[in-house]
Symmetry: D2
Amino acid sequence: MKNSFGDSIIITLFGESHGEMIGAVVDGLCPGIEIDDGFIAKKLSQRKAAGSLSTKRREKDEYRIVSGVFNGKTTGTPLCILIENGDTKSSDYEKTVGLLRPSHADYTAECKYHGFQDFRGGGHFSGRITAPLVAAGAIALKMLEKKGVVIATHIKRMGDITDRDFGEVSADAEVLSNDSFPVLNGEAKEKMISLINEAAQKGDSVGGVLESVVHGVPCGVGEPWFDTVEGCLSHILFSIPAIKGVEFGAGFGFANMKGSQANDAFAVRDGKVTTLTNNNGGINGGITNGEDIVFRCAVKPTPSIFKQQDTVDLNTMENAKLSIKGRHDPAVIHRARAVVDSVTALCLADLLAQRFGTDYFTE
Amino acid sequence: MKNSFGDSIIITLFGESHGEMIGAVVDGLCPGIEIDDGFIAKKLSQRKAAGSLSTKRREKDEYRIVSGVFNGKTTGTPLCILIENGDTKSSDYEKTVGLLRPSHADYTAECKYHGFQDFRGGGHFSGRITAPLVAAGAIALKMLEKKGVVIATHIKRMGDITDRDFGEVSADAEVLSNDSFPVLNGEAKEKMISLINEAAQKGDSVGGVLESVVHGVPCGVGEPWFDTVEGCLSHILFSIPAIKGVEFGAGFGFANMKGSQANDAFAVRDGKVTTLTNNNGGINGGITNGEDIVFRCAVKPTPSIFKQQDTVDLNTMENAKLSIKGRHDPAVIHRARAVVDSVTALCLADLLAQRFGTDYFTE
Amino acid sequence: MKNSFGDSIIITLFGESHGEMIGAVVDGLCPGIEIDDGFIAKKLSQRKAAGSLSTKRREKDEYRIVSGVFNGKTTGTPLCILIENGDTKSSDYEKTVGLLRPSHADYTAECKYHGFQDFRGGGHFSGRITAPLVAAGAIALKMLEKKGVVIATHIKRMGDITDRDFGEVSADAEVLSNDSFPVLNGEAKEKMISLINEAAQKGDSVGGVLESVVHGVPCGVGEPWFDTVEGCLSHILFSIPAIKGVEFGAGFGFANMKGSQANDAFAVRDGKVTTLTNNNGGINGGITNGEDIVFRCAVKPTPSIFKQQDTVDLNTMENAKLSIKGRHDPAVIHRARAVVDSVTALCLADLLAQRFGTDYFTE
Amino acid sequence: MKNSFGDSIIITLFGESHGEMIGAVVDGLCPGIEIDDGFIAKKLSQRKAAGSLSTKRREKDEYRIVSGVFNGKTTGTPLCILIENGDTKSSDYEKTVGLLRPSHADYTAECKYHGFQDFRGGGHFSGRITAPLVAAGAIALKMLEKKGVVIATHIKRMGDITDRDFGEVSADAEVLSNDSFPVLNGEAKEKMISLINEAAQKGDSVGGVLESVVHGVPCGVGEPWFDTVEGCLSHILFSIPAIKGVEFGAGFGFANMKGSQANDAFAVRDGKVTTLTNNNGGINGGITNGEDIVFRCAVKPTPSIFKQQDTVDLNTMENAKLSIKGRHDPAVIHRARAVVDSVTALCLADLLAQRFGTDYFTE
């Protein structure tokens, strides 16, 4: 039980929202990988998604890589990314210490850490900790890209508003990569933004569904039992705050299908084995089959809302009312996109390095 | 990347469907746990679910525990469970070698193992391998029971047929435990059985959704990043063949909710902190909050159907038609119930032993 | 904390000396490796080393591989080796239950397992558990051999009797492989055997030092911190009962050296970088340098001696006298040779598969 | 294969000697542990051991703990320690790039990292990386101290000069803790210092043997196979640069003993089971028996000597001469003491937290 993930390429996260620094150590990166600062900044910017839809906290997100890089390339030794915390308004939190924020980790942190946790701004549970995770993931995304692996994520659904399906992956990936609100269909996009704004005006928040596609992973990666690709991906995806469901291919839709509809028939195309449909989301028996890996994540509405809520005051152990102040998002789903891309890249880079050796990504 | 799961209590599976034996090693079990053979047999019987709805293969499932038990109790050293394979009709498979069964692992096994895999009956990918997994899980279920933890699973949905919600967990658990087709509402149960029989008559199969509840896990178990309870549970759940989606609490339903609906307000009850709703399924920030852990698994229709299917013959690398013969289930969801219970128990026993030490379950 | 070892190729041991079966599961073996039963039998025979110097227990050591092998080759899925326990005289042990055998694990087992351990014949602590370990190691030794890696171990020292140094590794390996008492110098061998016989006549036992050489491991394997080659090898070596010291290269001899004597100067030979001496035993900074890996293991005298010993009776918690009966060895060092070879092979195969991928050993 | 160690309390090291920062992340620390900055500084000072015997590099060793601590106590979330690199003279190294330093990791780094490694000052292989390791270990030492566990290390031998044996552990520990050159016997200490000075004058260096004792670890910690206490301790000890041998209890001395001399007889003392001798160094069958854990580490002479050495120039692949310049130690054994204490504390704290749960050290 630990704050690390991976067997060959391993990420460890540290830091608290209002502490001195947050960061990540990535161990096992193949040597010789070029660090693309512009791309890291781009993914961090997707995660921050500044604008009217997002938190007013001005995070600088100025990361520093203090180890594991020499002359602009990975050395192969552990890479440490640091981000300093600035613009923290801890006083917002001091006032409400003891008042448990519903659907946040305040109460579970208390149970686990017996009151020693840093409660300010969610501490180690804060969504802010995803910043170094995204920076690390950006490195993995670039590694995969050089191996022909493309990852893209869009908001598939918000309430009853649905985005179109993925088409040609590379083209869609390009479009999404340049949009801070990743929706493919323009009309759906406008409606979703309206939905968020409406919720914001009422001091409320919204959830949704993210859909991801991974193109270009070779077949034969993953294990039949326990370390299936689904198991490994879901393991890391569920550590993204707000994600409460993960499904692959047809997922929960399988409940309404017959085997004859659900099965992905095989066919030869260009001398290679392919499937005519992809209801299994690119994975059979826990192992990649060379088709696109497709999955969706359920994102719960941001728990920090401005509407008054019923809660408990831990200091008095009595029922109480809570009105959250501070800077909070009416939606995080568009920001979570960058985190989903990042953890997916880290997980797949790890699986590939286990499968093909620690020089696999060395250029 | 491996065929093991767990950090403190670790299970490793081995064996092939038509090999000599299948089995499991469970390491890290606390010493002094009584082995309840009747209960293990009961869970194995739930998994086998003999009857008109299930495979005609007559598995004896006569397990032997050959190590780690002395005088009827665990010793604390690795426990090995063995089950011999009998009644295998390998000839059924020999005929179709090279014809990839759609949505099975035949092709991915070929990619990963380069033709050295034991292809007979799905080999190591066979659902049969869940028999020792269920036997091991039955030991974990009993360990948890003595600590006041109850686990129950029912078929929540099949097509458009929906079972009622869980009520009082202990009572529902008792009912489900004595039913080989675990549905709480009698009418829904009959309809689901009819649906399976209809599919069977057409040489087809059905999928569905399993819903599980875990009552009595203390708060404060799990980690904020990576080893969240959702992450650990989904990791092991996805290794059950046919499971393609996992959601906790409101899960994908969150996409239609506002924060003010989704948040679980806190209240004091009997001097303890509780929540008024349980949309988060008993987990906040990756850590248990003391409420029931609730999750659902999407189960895809059995891929072995008797309808003719399009496929590829690996020997000729040409398109081909496949008509599966042999003994196969039109539905596995009712049998998968026992596997879900088992892996849930193994995962939670592991998390509890990590949290509270290796003597936690010693009586 | 577990009874498994390895990251990519993982071995798990189970079983008790007087239980039904003992065995091992080896996960992560590359597919397509030929199982050489003759070689496995040979290594098991080295471990058994029947004869006047060894235990009178007649172990049949008839292993069965019940999974992970198909058509004589590994499938790539977990391989399970089983050995049945026969000829157990549990009654020898029943009589002395409660009388702690000095320098055995009776007392520590009691502390750890609270009386639930299988005490008969040392239970899970018995040297007998090394039989499946040696069988597994024999598979790894063959895998390495095909990659040009040769492992050999001899008794370097017993009391004041010293064997000659290793010469040409392949030739010495060949000689040792055919000798159940692995000593290179004939005179030293005779003296050591005499020493054991003398001790045996007095109801006593002897210890010694094993020296191993590994030829042919490519450079660049291992990690700078924590998972150094020395760290990984010593980790698994120390789990061999009786081993209480491990040194690499000059080892404890470094204490009498100056840097100018200790340093291994580099030189170009046949266009490759080599060292003129090998005081570092083939490892610099935790990583292989391409020279022979050389290490020595201290083996303590067999704790089961027939001389009367002072001890404690756990039942009465009073001082007591113990006279061990049964079948015991005056020396285990020559038998431990096969175990050292085996765990060395497992460890290095694991490091190589991590480094070069899971197909590295596939032929 | 990774730069981390531990299962419940896990340390990860990062950084290069001449990079921006070096550091460590410690995950799994129980919440509520007071950070004793004075003690951390003291252990860092032991490691630095400034003075005529040590490197001239002026490391400030000003560490910052940037996460995992709140109000002076651990929170239970990952703790990150950072140390900035100052006073680096990279130019000393630039000049000799390509000239492999004998018995350093220059060549193995090249093999593993294909030229992408940061070669300056040994990069990630530098002894400097032990600074954050010692800081982390100091926290573990304090945790253990509150549980009654005392760890002490002295220089047992250097050349033919031998320190006296440990007497009463607490008293000796106190003495050693206040001495930057940890030798118990005054005369032996003077002789050792003279030996080092003599070597230094000749541009040479010396090795030696460190001996450690751990008092107060409860019995029943460790595993019979693979994760033995000896295996875990040696694993982490061998990652200390310069350590090439580890022995427990009588260690290599067992080769000259008979079983009747080697066995540790049991006796009842104050109602508890104890042993009359401690040749097994507090560990039987891989598990602690409650006696003092005793072990010795072989330390090789510092490889950086000023005498001219034979080597290879990687740029030309020709034989060459190397005269090392810069700031180097004629001995590191007295400095390594602090590192041995630290890794021992980290390993035992991990084993105890695994055994007794993650709240074991919470005050």
